[in-house]
């Protein structure tokens, strides 16, 4: 019974809690965060269960209200969407769990609207991933974006301006996507992805199809912060409240990446995408430029959150690069990196949040070596996540890079291979810069004695999620053979 309704149940959980939170929140404000934790935890549990169900029984196509497609709207819960839903909801659960302490400090009294919006945004993300309909996808895209703009606007003084810029460019992207979907609809007469797929090859040379493809890639590329459409991201992630960043940064761009996977691998198929011009390769080149650009810009930043934001631009590039390789290794590497990067980035932004909660800033140039005494666990979590970001075994980050490297070799794509190697080194530069500040004296400032400090780490509700994510990086690292085995089975070609 529950299995057949799973896709709807996951989405409805968020609908339910986005109503429950205002209802209870008006009565008792402090109930909002626990409710949100329960809601996202429930959805996380359901999506893990759902993915296991998928592995045992195969994909689920769920038609709402019993209306069969193409008349009705359906949710498609296959390997790709099941995997993304699982990553999104589980990571979101940890982010929301962690956000309680930050919410009290950074926007006291606004917990109720904040968590209601968070639920709406997660509803949007889940909808984007599960829907089988191109227009429905647009609607969920806008739901998640609108909630996301509001979440980003909560934060430092310039946050509304950052959110506004994101709104303008993000909505423009969404609109271009809608135009692209319209062009495809004009040609095929359907909006259902599975229905449309067999029709598209007949119109492979049609200008409308090619233009539709380009518009969709550009529109979604904005949301995915694909170079050169990344301009909104650094400011948004820096100025938004730490809790918003921790929630949005790990999963927001991944969802857009999911749409690119869905369009390129499933809706069109790689052969059709490349029929008129080598679009997948071009997307890969953009991703490579983004990887290098993001890494270099990250080195130049002195604010931890801004550095992590630029690093996100670079990391999303890995995922898109794996997509553009269009072979099993690249696909598995990209999807594994979706998981890895979501966990690593969530963990790192939590560390930034913990530091802001204790020190009131996250400016790297002000870090000193008393942190290792004051926040030993937070710093350990940072070390693990950062080493994983650099890509050293046996942590999770190494393995996604390993599979991407295998993918580039399969395609004899030496430029991409070089990009992976170079960017890993750049990663090492910007993370070891932070290590030097946190663990060592600063001889450049004339420090002669190591600084001492009392243990003052954040409290459990913030420390546990940070630590669990850090530990899970090690677990994922050792378990990645299993995960990749599943991912290779999902590969559609």
């Amino acid at each position: 019974m529950i299995e057949t309704h799973l896709p709807a149940l996951i989405a409805l959980t968020f609908v339910l809690f986005s109503i429950l939170i205002p209802a209870f929140g008006l009565w008792r404000r402090e109930l909002s965060q626990p409710l949100a934790v329960i809601g996202s935890g429930l959805a996380g549990g359901l999506s893990i269960y759902g993915f296991i169900e998928y592995l045992n029984h195969g994909a689920i196509r769920y038609s709402f209200g019993g209306w069969e497609p193409p008349v009705g709207i359906e949710f498609v819960y296959d390997g790709l969407s099941g995997f993304f839903v699982m990553v999104i909801n589980v990571v979101a659960f940890f982010s929301i769990w962690h956000s309680g302490g930050i919410a009290k400090r950074e926007f006291p009294g606004k917990e109720m609207p904040y968590y209601a919006l968070a639920m709406l945004m997660l509803l949007g993300f889940n909808g984007i991933v599960m829907t089988g309909d191109l227009f429905n996808l647009f609607v969920f895209l806008e739901i998640s974006s609108l909630a996301g703009y509001a979440l980003i606007a909560i934060g430092d003084r310039p946050a509304p301006y950052a959110a506004f810029r994101y709104l303008i460019i993000g909505t423009a992207g969404g609109t271009l996507y809608l135009l692209g979907a319209g062009l495809l609809y004009t040609v095929t007469g359907t909006l259902n992805i599975i229905d449309m797929t067999p029709m598209l090859p007949h119109f492979a040379e049609s200008t409308a199809v090619v233009a539709g493809l380009i518009l969709m890639i550009v529109g979604i590329g904005v949301k995915a912060a694909l170079f050169p459409m990344h301009g909104w991201l650094p400011d948004s992630y820096t100025y938004a409240s730490s809790s918003s960043t921790t929630l949005i940064a790990p999963i927001g761009t991944k969802v857009a990446a999911y749409v690119l996977f869905r369009i390129i691998f499933y809706l069109f198929g790689v052969d059709l995408v490349d029929a008129t011009a080598p679009f997948t390769y071009l997307v890969g080149v953009l991703a490579c430029i983004g990887i290098i650009y993001g890494s270099i810009m990250a080195i130049a930043q002195s604010e931890l959150k801004r550095m992590l934001a630029y690093s996100s631009i670079s990391q999303i590039g890995y995922i898109i690069m794996g997509l553009s390789l269009a072979n099993p290794w690249g696909f598995a590497g990209a999807l594994l990196h979706v998981l890895n990067h979501a966990v690593m980035k969530a963990c790192l932004f939590m560390v930034a949040g913990n530091l802001r909660a204790k020190e009131g800033h996250s400016d790297i140039s002000l870090f000193d070596d008393s942190y290792r005494k004051k926040y030993p666990w937070t710093m350990t979590a940072f070390s693990i996540a950062a080493i994983s970001m650099i890509g050293l075994p046996p942590l999770a980050g190494f393995f996604s890079k390993w599979y991407l490297v295998l993918g580039t070799i399969d395609n004899s794509n030496w430029i991409f291979l070089a990009v992976i190697v170079i960017s890993s080194l750049l990663n090492a530069v910007y993370f070891f810069r932070v290590y030097e500040k946190m663990y060592m004296m600063d001889p450049y400032k004339g420090q002669k004695e190591p600084k001492d400090g009392e243990y003052n780490d954040v409290k459990g509700s913030m420390l546990w999620p940070t630590s669990i994510l850090a530990v899970s990086l090690i677990v994922i690292g050792f378990a990645n053979a299993v995960i990749v085995g599943v991912l290779l089975d999902i590969f559609p070609m």
Partner: protein, 495 residues
């Protein structure tokens, strides 16, 4: 007796020791007790593998799949056991010596120091027992990370810059190793170390082989100190002396040359190396390094830096022996791992004792110190004579085999290089001895020998150098082991 878990425990023991070391950071004596205990247990565990290795047997353990078809697997084959015995044996002496050194020099953050040291040893034994390239990469990177806190230990500007340089070189090397391994995996479908190599089934074009080889050479060459990518080694000499001693004479750099042997003998295979003419490339690099490093050693006034350049040169002896692709040369190269380890660790220990006792680091300040530190300088004399290749110290023994190897391969250039560098070695060590014994020192009144915790390990390693020179098979059967390894590498390829 089932030995299959022994390699795993041998690796883990010092990793586990990190926990009690960290917990007893307020009680130095207890903390050092854990270090010593772990060192002894580790050495004992490694020794239990020795009889099997002498019979040519390997102990294998498959732990978990790291990637589809690529397990995290350990294999204690003769080559691995050989290296593990040296590394874990010398760790015991270094531990005692370290205690004397850090207390004598009043170093800060001693807990971090001992903890990192323990992790380094785990990584080194892991490198020795890795059964495939992926496992090898794992421990190789672990070694890099664990050494970093030791290199920057005193956190002065010079140390931090040395640490940056160290990371820049070693992390790049690690990534190149990943790229090279991925290429090997794509072409051969396996990464398991196999005597005779992985390329026996596939026939790749010359340029592809060359690219893979150059990637490997750059990757392992960094830790093996092959010029021109040796730059981190002198820079990393800012570390405390026991670190330089164990890590930059035994663990890190020897992991590099060990990796060279693994790559040449177990990934490419000697026949493939010879077939594609890759050995000559290696000879050119190694020969160049030996000569240039010896010349650069002359120019250093800092004792540790001179030793560092001497290390760079001697590592390439080993590489040279391997690169000749002859059984005797290979034997000599492998023997020189052990020989150089005991001799160079003695020299570094001496340098550290001099620093702690007299606070002198420059060679020009060493006039007359043999009078106040006779035991230390006696050991120093043995070490430097050995490195110059004078019998009966074990440096002579391995050099002899290197020379035999090049005769066996009808090569005259390596012999020439060996003779020349022997002279150069003598040239840069003897002035130190001359100063210490025959020049009149100043300001030495009131100083005596260093603490026994330092002098006893020095004497033991120096004695070992002599004993292994006289009886190469003493205790551990190193010579038989080296011969077995080299035989297995040369007989496996031919059916």
């Amino acid at each position: 007796m089932d030995l299959s878990l022994v390699p795993l425990f041998a690796i883990l023991i010092s990793l586990i020791a990190v926990v009690p070391i960290m917990l007893s950071s307020e009680k130095p004596n207890l903390r050092e007790f854990w270090t010593i205990l772990a060192a002894l247990i580790k050495f004992g565990l490694v020794l239990t593998l020795l009889p099997g290795a002498l019979e040519g047997k390997s102990v294998e353990l498959h732990i978990v799949d790291l990637a589809p078809g690529l397990p995290l697997a350990l294999k204690a084959d003769p080559m691995g056991v050989f290296f593990a015995v040296i590394a874990s044996g010398l760790w015991i002496f270094t531990s005692f010596y370290s205690i004397g050194y850090v207390r004598g020099a009043g170093e800060m953050k001693q807990t971090r120091y001992f903890a990192s040291f323990a992790v380094c040893l785990s990584a080194t034994i892991g490198i020795a027992f890795s059964a495939n390239l992926l496992t090898f990469i794992l421990f190789y990177e672990m070694l890099t990370l664990a050494t970093y806190p030791l290199v920057i230990h005193n956190e002065k500007q010079e140390a931090i810059e040395g640490g940056r340089k160290y990371l820049a070189f070693t992390l790049t090397a690690g990534l190149l190793l990943v790229a090279a391994s991925a290429l090997v995996y794509s072409y051969t479908g396996t990464l398991d170390f196999t005597p005779g190599g992985l390329f026996t089934e596939v026939d790749l074009p010359q340029h592809v082989m060359l690219i893979i080889f150059v990637l490997f050479l750059a990757a392992v060459g960094v830790k093996a100190g092959i010029m021109p990518i040796h730059g981190w080694l002198p820079a990393a000499m800012v570390a405390p002396t026991p670190v330089s001693a164990l890590l930059h004479a035994v663990a890190v750099v020897k992991s590099g040359v060990f990796a060279v042997i693994r790559v040449v003998g177990y990934v490419f295979g000697v026949d493939v190396m010879a077939g594609y003419g890759l050995g000559e490339i290696l000879i050119v690099f190694a020969g160049f390094t030996i000569i240039v490093a010896s010349l650069l050693a002359f120019a250093q006034d800092n004792l540790k830096r001179r030793l560092a350049y001497s290390t760079v040169g001697h590592l390439s002896y080993i590489v040279l022996g391997v690169a000749m692709l002859t059984p005797l040369g290979m034997t000599g190269g492998i023997m020189h791992i052990a020989a150089h380890a005991t001799m160079k660790i003695t020299l570094f220990f001496c340098a550290g004792a001099i620093y702690v006792n007299l606070h002198r680091t420059e060679i020009s300040n060493l006039n007359g110190i043999a009078k106040v530190m006779p035991w230390t300088m006696g050991a120093f004399t043995i070490g430097s004579l050995g490195l110059a290749g004078i019998p009966p110290i074990n440096g002579f023994f391995s050099k002899w085999y290197l020379a035999m190897g090049s005769l066996e391969g009808d090569m005259l250039v390596p012999i020439f290089i060996l003779v020349l560098s022997g002279l150069l070695n003598a040239g840069y060590f003897f002035p130190i001895l001359h100063r210490a014994y025959f020049k009149k020192g100043e300001g030495l009144e009131g100083y005596g020998e260093a603490s026994p915790l330092m002098v006893v390990p020095i004497m033991i390693t120096a004695t070992l150098s002599v004993l292994f020179g006289l009886f190469p098979n003493l205790f551990f059967g190193f010579f038989d082991l080296a011969v077995d390894i080299s035989t297995s590498l040369f007989n496996s390829g031919a059916p």
